[in-house]
């Protein structure tokens, strides 16, 4: 199977999930965690001359407010993402994010991963190599999802689908609260 066909299949499956998701929640009562506060400003932040390297917290701040596709909650609130599972190396331009689906059979896992990936793509300088994957042992089809998220072409093809893009964009929209 060539990669394009794979990409199409990836898209098709996510679409089915999106369509069905509108009617029934897979995990109706998730555990809700406290939202973390904003990062505190330091003197270094205000100093014109000091360089602030991109750190784990900064990456975490980028993704913590992403909306969950199912719930009116952020990924942080659902503990899908945690700062300890974010790993960035500014000098080597690499970033690695692990996310933990709320339930092991969560059909939204790919969509969440895609949102994370797109958010980082849009927010980080293009020198970064972005790796988004499921926290090991937390999802039934972990390998398949990771493989899809690691494939640039599949991600690009998915984003060409306007329905999928719409959902991703909704996840990335800043909620007015």
């Amino acid at each position: 199977m060539n990669s394009h066909q794979q990409a199409n299949r990836f898209t098709q499956r996510e679409l089915q999930v999106i369509m069905s998701g509108g009617t029934r929640l897979e995990n109706a009562n998730p555990l809700i965690f406290q939202r973390s506060g904003d990062r505190l400003l330091t003197a270094t932040d205000e100093d014109e001359d000091a360089a602030d390297p991109i750190d784990d917290r900064e990456i975490f701040d980028l993704i913590r407010s992403i909306n969950d596709p199912e719930h009116p909650l952020s990924l942080k609130e659902l503990n899908v993402v945690e700062q300890m599972r974010v790993n960035v190396n500014d000098e080597e331009s690499t970033v690695s994010v692990e996310f933990t689906p709320t339930i092991p059979h969560c059909s939204m896992a790919t969509l969440i991963g895609l949102s994370l990936k797109v958010k980082l793509l849009r927010s980080l300088p293009d020198r970064f190599k972005i790796d988004v994957h499921i926290t090991p042992g937390t999802h039934a089809s972990e390998d398949a999802v990771n493989k899809q998220l690691a494939d640039k072409e599949r991600v690009a093809a998915a984003l060409e689908n306007s329905q999928l893009l719409e959902v991703v964009n909704q996840c990335l929209s800043t909620r007015t609260m």
Partner: protein, 899 residues
């Protein structure tokens, strides 16, 4: 006949096989006597000519050629044709035969009965089959002689060959070394040039092949039987090199190069060649070549002038110049004056090269010219001569007081004065030019001469109406007045004044008088006399007043740096003008166009006189009062605007502290006028008050005066005024732009360099407030200002503008839509500013812009996303945060599920 035949065979046999040379002469005699015919001879030679031995064939051809040399004249055309065909064919034969073949051809080409086409075919064969320079001396000579003979008899045919002929000749002669042959070759070349052969594209080749002998260095061997001299060669070559103007461009550089030669004779040869070529070249049409030739001559003379003289040696310069003079002088005297100009140019170029040269040339030429002038009666001739004379009289950088001209001073002046009284305008014009030239050199005009000249000029101004002559007279008066002011004050000005005031003269005469007065007024002493006269003209028609004002303006412009004249203007002229102005203002309430023009000139001249800061303006307070009054009460747009500008110009230049009185509430009308008139919305004078306010604000803003803030605040307040709002918005444009007529550095205004930045720094908040509160029309005017503030280099200004702009962008006014392009480019540029706060603020603005209606900003999406990728990698986290937020919004823009 049989006997003759055997005799002939015997002769041939003895010559060819027996090597008895004398038999050739016997054979010739036989042919001449009619004993045998050429045909018989050829038949008899048959065996030898077809022998397989080259020597035998050569001997045969030799006999035939020697016989032909004796009896070529008796040949028939048919015989010549056959023989030529034979000889042309033999050119391809063995080399030992070639010399004899050429001898034969040489004899044949002397024939008078050459058949048509034969010349071309002979030459083609020679050029094709023979390498001339590998032949022996005598044979080469043969070839040149053949060329010369054919050029004599078959010129038309050779010209038909076109450039091929030139090329053939160039190839044949290239490398010739023998002087005898060179003479022949030079002769061929001279024929080519003089008889108008088409050189085609071989001009340079022909020149190269000839010029390589230049300069000729030849010392004949003591026992030279031919008696060729160096002189002969030199003249012959020079005739070639200077023979055509087509060579000029190659010749001049060559000569200049050879002038550096160490060999004395080479130098002399170069100089003489140069001279001949200059004369030739001057007659040609090419200006470029002519000027190159002239500058070469000039350089040469200046070089010779520097040569060191020995006590016993001849002065090289003198020798050379006498050569030049000899050649040129007679052209000046020829009746038709045909070569006057080329000669005059040569002489002037020589004279202009050094002081000594000018002495020598002028001493010889000027008397000749003067004499010629007096001998001629035709105006055209006299004019030409006078023009030539002008060239010699014209002062140059080399002129010294003890000029040779002093000796001719009397006669020069005499000639000029006589020319000034002639009836021909052209001659008179030239005479005025000579007069200016004379006047500019001290010692050339005695006091009486100057007075005479001034009288002539006055007369011409009053009497002559030819426009060219008038302007020449005016120009001459101007230049003389600068050097001889007294004569003009005592003679010209009173006379013109009398004429003007007599009231009897017509307008054209008065106009000329006015122009002349303006032109002579360059020195303070003259201005003091002339300006009052000009002012007196102001009683006449509007056009004349305008003309007077233009004249005064000219004087003022001329006198920009003269303090004395400036003071005089302020003392005398300006009060007058102001009076006139007021008068005019009163009149114009019901007058038409012309008076507006008049006033414009009045104001122009006034503004011009306000230029010098060090000039103390008398009664400045009164002047300010008048200006202020005029600016507030006058209804004529131009007048009150100009008055306001003048007022502002003066206020700007007043020393610190003194002008407070005009602005403080309790003291003066300005405040009264501005506040009262502006507050009274029904007042008819609001526009005037506003104009004054605007210009005074600008005057103070430029010099960082503390009061400017109060005034600009008033302007800001006016933005919401229903009647004046849009004018107020326009007014900010006036404040920020450079003004051409007043309040600029050219007017010596007090302008601080950073006034714009300062203004923005202090006022951008107000500007944005005004922007928000103002109506649509005014916003259009203010936006460019805001944008300008953004492109201002000062970071504080950028920051304050950005922080003001951001809230505006959240609810953007309609007018912004037309300025998006400019706004985006400025904001995006600021996202990489060195100042962190500016980066943050600009990113916030870019973020805010994403909320504008989608269709207006969507075209910028790609550009913004690309530009925002840069600050994503900013070294400051706070900047990255804003960039991420803004970029996220721009990604959502126009995307499904976005906005």
């Amino acid at each position: 006949m049989a006997a003759d035949n055997s005799v002939l065979l015997g002769l041939v046999e003895e010559f060819v096989s027996g090597q008895v040379d004398s038999k050739a002469a016997e054979t010739s005699t036989g042919v001449k006597n009619g004993q045998f015919t050429i045909l018989q001879l050829v038949e008899a030679l048959g065996v030898s000519l077809s022998s397989s031995q080259p020597q035998t064939r050569g001997r045969g051809v030799q006999l035939l050629s020697q016989v032909l040399q004796e009896c070529y004249s008796s040949l028939s055309e048919r015989e010549v044709e056959v023989l030529l065909a034979f000889y042309e064919n033999r050119l391809k034969d063995h080399y030992v035969i070639i010399p004899h073949v050429l001898q034969g051809l040489k004899a044949l080409t002397k024939c008078s009965v050459l058949p048509p086409g034969s010349a071309v075919s002979v030459l083609k064969s020679i050029f094709q089959d023979i390498h001339v320079q590998s032949l022996m001396l005598a044979e080469r000579s043969c070839v040149y002689n053949i060329l010369i003979s054919l050029m004599e008899s078959k010129e038309e045919e050779l010209k038909g060959l076109g450039a091929d002929f030139i090329f053939g000749f160039v190839q044949s002669v290239d490398g010739e070394r023998d002087p005898r042959n060179l003479l022949l070759a030079f002769q061929v070349a001279r024929n080519i040039i003089q008889r108008g052969y088409d050189l085609g594209k071989f001009v340079e080749e022909l020149f190269e092949v000839m010029s390589c002998y230049f300069p000729i260095d030849f010392s004949p061997p003591p026992s030279d039987p031919r008696g060729i001299t160096q002189e002969e060669l030199v003249l012959s070559l020079r005739a070639v090199l200077t023979g055509t103007s087509q060579f000029a461009e190659f010749l001049l550089p060559l000569i200049i190069e050879k002038l550096d030669s160490d060999i004395q004779s080479a130098k002399v040869d170069s100089l003489q060649t140069l001279f001949v070529s200059c004369v030739q070249v001057s007659q040609t049409a090419s200006e470029r070549v002519e000027s190159a030739g002239l500058s070469a001559l000039s350089a040469l003379v200046s070089c010779l002038s520097r040569s060191v003289l020995n006590s016993d040696s001849e002065d090289v310069l003198q020798v050379f110049l006498s050569l030049v003079l000899k050649d040129c002088q007679h052209h000046l005297c020829e009746p038709d004056l045909k070569l006057v100009w080329p000669s005059a140019k040569l002489l002037q170029a020589a004279a202009g090269a050094s002081y000594r040269a000018s002495l020598i040339v002028s001493a010889a030429i000027i008397p000749a010219l003067l004499e010629q002038y007096n001998n001629r009666t035709q105006c055209a001739h006299r004019r030409t001569l006078l023009e030539v004379l002008q060239g010699f009289v014209q002062p140059t950088a080399l002129s010294r007081p003890d000029s040779v001209l002093v000796a001719f001073q009397q006669s020069l002046c005499g000639v000029v004065f006589s020319a000034l009284t002639e009836s021909s305008a052209g001659l008179q014009v030239t005479a005025t030019r000579v007069l200016s030239a004379l006047g500019q050199q001290p010692g050339l005009m005695a006091q009486t001469d100057v007075e005479k000249a001034v009288d002539h000029l006055s007369r011409l101004i009053l009497e002559e109406d030819d426009p060219k002559l008038s302007s020449a007279v005016v120009e001459c008066s101007g230049s003389l007045a600068h050097l001889h002011p007294k004569a003009f004050i005592s003679r010209l000005i009173p006379r013109l004044k009398e004429e003007i005031l007599s009231g009897q003269s017509d307008a054209a005469v008065r106009q000329r008088c006015v122009t002349a007065l303006a032109s002579v007024s360059s020195l303070p002493s003259v201005v003091q006399e002339s300006a009052p006269v000009l002012l007196q003209v102001c009683g006449f028609s509007v056009e004349e007043v305008a003309a007077v004002c233009i004249s005064l303006q000219k004087i003022a412009e001329h006198a920009r740096d003269s303090e004395e004249i400036g003071r005089f203007f302020h003392d005398i002229i300006i009060p007058h003008l102001l009076g006139l102005c007021l008068q005019a203002a009163l009149q114009t309430r019901d007058a038409g166009q012309p008076s507006e023009r008049k006033k414009q000139h009045l104001w122009d001249s006034t503004c011009h006189s306000f230029t010098s800061p060090q000039v103390e303006i008398p009664e400045i307070d009164r002047l300010l009062l008048q200006l202020e009054d005029l600016s507030c009460t006058c209804t004529h747009l131009f007048s009150f605007t100009s008055a306001a500008k003048c007022f502002a110009g003066l206020v700007n230049k007043r020393p610190a502290g003194t002008h407070r009185i005009y602005l403080l509430p309790q003291s003066h009308a300005l405040n009264f006028v501005i506040s009262v008139e502006l507050e009274n919305t029904s007042s008819a004078q609001r526009t005037q008050a506003f104009t004054l306010l605007l210009w005074v604000s600008k005057a103070l803003l430029l010099r960082y005066h503390p009061l400017s803030t109060a005034l600009t605040d008033q302007l800001f307040a006016l933005l919401s005024d229903p009647a004046l709002g849009s004018q107020a918005a326009d007014g900010f444009g006036v404040l920020m732009s450079d003004c051409l007529d007043v309040l600029n550095r050219g007017c010596h205004a007090d302008v601080r360099i950073m006034y714009r930045q300062r203004f923005f720094a202090e006022n951008s908040t107000k500007l944005v407030q005004g922007f928000n509160s103002a109506e649509q029309v005014k916003v259009n005017e203010l936006l460019p200002l805001l944008l300008e503030a953004l492109s201002c280099a000062d970071q504080a200004v950028q920051l304050s503008t950005l922080s003001c702009l951001q809230p505006v962008l959240l609810e953007p006014p309609e007018a912004l839509r037309n300025q998006l392009e400019a706004l985006f480019s400025r904001l995006l540029a600021l996202t990489t500013s060195p100042a962190m706060k500016v980066r943050i603020a600009s990113l916030q603005c870019v973020h805010a812009l994403s909320r504008l209606p989608e269709h207006t900003v969507l075209p910028f999406r790609a550009r913004v996303l690309k530009a925002l990728a840069v600050p994503l990698d900013d070294k400051k986290r706070l900047v990255r945060k804003e960039a991420v937020a803004a970029r996220a919004e721009w990604f959502l823009l126009g995307s499904p599920g976005g906005r």
